[in-house]
Symmetry: C2
């Protein structure tokens, strides 16, 4: 089993080290990850700049390729240029911070798995609900089992799994729930900052707003209540309901056909 | 009618100028767009850097705010900080180059509309199938009608329209089709480049692969065949089919609950 691992926190984050160690028990691991943190990179790719790939050693047991690009770049260049392998599965994380609800649109971690799905390779993204590291090791062990199950049971082309762990000790975890992507989002605000000569700059801040009530089968609610959340995600975002409604619109400039 | 306009080609691209002129007939326009091109920015947002907003004049009739950020940043900061208005609709484009099928995942243009949808504001993204400008003016006129219809008929919260124009004279256009997001994608490759002291760099290239047969109600096929394509898009990408299948997986480390 050949496993490509990437992330958005960067190649030296504890989450990718722990995940790599745990997944090494399943087969051959190949790490291609951003040299610098790429949180909130979304599904950006690098088209106008040249990418540089360098070998990166953390210690005796951990080797990877570091790329001056985005998470999606790492998957593309890792598979088509650097490694010369066809991975059996692509795994992202473990991200320090949850990736749930509409935040999966901003997430570089999820974009790793989404990019693999676009190459018809099974893929799983892993995140933990917090910035601390004390629960990453058990999460990595469970991530290995989920990765194995995803490989063995198969994930259809164009689909991926988005997994989030609660940031609590393993013995307190209530179980695994299959969930749906929530509708919750950040209410944005900007803090204005002035430099020493009075020029104005803006720094994004925001507050998470729960719009999903208390349904446990919603990603963020599951982890907030002590469950591991597995959300199946697809690439097609066509709104089939709206599709039917728009057919009734009338246009004058150019006619609507059916 | 208050209309916020942004794009990913940058505030000085012909597409946003033509669109602004056409939309000015519908109401008050507010332009907040990236100072530099942000193609393939995906849905990236700027979190660790400070954003700068500067007034930008192209000529007597065209004023906007230029931001050193991504398309999604422009929507966030435009609405929450710069303009002090609640736009009735957010419009993106006109992008020079189509944004169809899985490429909407990479598109900065679509991310403008997606970001607005996350703020529960109706939104439409416009792109034209080519890098030339000779058909942008008529496309902008039709874009104004579609924008008005989207405002008048309403687009539900969390939903957006992705519109693509064929790059042909208006009189050759066969009509408007409501379409679905295609499954086509790029087969990636990288060109390796060496600098003067032999260091290796990689430049992304790729070839568009049509995986959607000849169904006219698929976004790229519609424009390739002379139609204007309108695809309704939603934020929720949960795969409900896979959701049911995963319920049958068995886990040993931690139990699956239902």
């Amino acid at each position: 089993m050949k496993i490509l691992i990437s992330n958005d926190d960067g190649i030296d984050s504890y989450g990718i080290i722990a995940l790599s160690k745990a997944l090494a028990k399943l087969g051959d691991i190949y790490v291609v990850a951003p040299i610098f943190e790429q949180s909130a990179a979304g599904h950006a790719i690098t088209m106008k700049k040249h990418l540089k790939v360098v070998s990166h050693y953390i210690n005796d047991e951990f080797f990877g390729y570091a790329v001056n690009g985005t998470p999606a770049d790492c998957v593309k260049i890792g598979i088509t240029k650097v490694l010369n392998i066809n991975p059996d599965i692509v795994v992202a994380g473990i991200n320090h911070g949850s990736n749930t609800s509409t935040n999966i649109i901003y997430s570089g971690t999820v974009s790793v798995a989404r990019e693999a799905a676009m190459m018809d390779i099974p893929a799983v993204a892993f995140s933990i609900n917090g910035r601390t590291s004390e629960n990453i090791d058990w999460a990595a062990e469970v991530a290995a089992e989920i990765t194995f199950k995803a490989f063995k049971n198969g994930i259809k082309p164009g689909k991926l799994l988005n997994v989030n762990f609660p940031n609590i000790p393993k013995e307190q975890v209530k179980g695994i729930l299959i969930t749906k992507q929530g509708n919750s989002r950040f209410a944005d605000s900007y803090t204005t900052i002035y430099d020493e000569i009075g020029r104005e700059y803006h720094q994004l801040t925001g507050e998470f707003i729960n719009l999903d009530g208390d349904d446990l089968h919603i990603d963020q609610n599951a982890i907030d209540n002590g469950y591991i959340s597995i959300t199946p995600i697809k690439l097609d975002s066509t709104d089939h309901e709206e599709f039917e409604l728009i057919k009734d619109w009338s246009f004058t400039e150019i006619s609507l056909r059916s």
